[in-house]
């Protein structure tokens, strides 16, 4: 692998890791757009590869948070078990539908979440 490509991967990984540890998300927000814009990935390829990276990034961050005693396993299961069905369904749908319609729907959902966090 060329050194330039490895350095870009390292930069994306560090930024994604910081977001993950700071905000409790997986870092996909950073990984997906940068893989597309910076490393020439196709859309689906970026989302699939992002998930592989997130599995590792979130595992590191979980260990970090567990050392502060912040992780609640039963509550993680309450949210995570339905999410496993969701991700299988989402990946299947992604192969069949144009991504753009779905993306707009989720953008609206995210804005609603942001408003809720600020107001609540």
């Amino acid at each position: 692998m060329p050194r330039d490509r490895l350095l870009r991967l390292a930069a994306i990984a560090t930024a994604a890791g910081a977001f993950s540890g700071l905000l409790g998300v997986g870092g996909g927000t950073i990984v997906v757009p940068f893989l597309i814009l910076w490393l020439g990935y196709g859309d689906r390829e970026a989302t699939g590869t992002s998930l592989a990276a997130i599995a590792v990034i979130a595992a590191y961050a979980t260990v970090g948070q567990a050392m502060y005693g912040n992780v609640d396993v039963p509550k993680a299961a309450l949210v995570g078990a339905p999410a496993l069905a969701g991700v299988v369904a989402g990946a299947a749908v992604q192969q069949r539908l144009p991504e753009r319609a779905v993306a707009l729907l989720f953008a609206a959902l995210l804005i609603a979440t942001a408003v809720e966090l600020v107001v609540a």
């Binding site: 700071l22 905000l23 998930l51 309450l78 989720f106």
Partner: protein, 134 residues
Amino acid sequence: MEYVAAGALGFAGGMLGGLVGVGGGVLFVPALAIFLDQSQVHAEATSLLAIVFVALVGAWRQRGYGNVRVREGLILGALSPLGVAAGVGVSNAIPERALELLFAGLAVVIAAQLVRRALAPPPGSSRGAGEGAR
């Protein structure tokens, strides 16, 4: 009722993960904070554990569809610990309200990114212009 709502948001978060390649934390965190009574910091920490399994299953499914560059995905994961350590330290050092506002800001940024991508011309039509600009 709270459990049903949290589970529904969990399913939606997983769906989002499969569709756009994120872990789903943007929905897991509010699900845990609003419906399962966790503080913002605890919700974020607990969300990370759920994300690990969602991302594993999602990557497995996407690999079946031929959409995963395994080697580069693992390199990304392997090189992330410095950033993770910094983020975890900061999240335990700053006020929860600041974290909530940061998280809201992140959600808006993601939303804008999704809209921009959805409204952009299809791949291929702008390729010549992009290469010319380089």
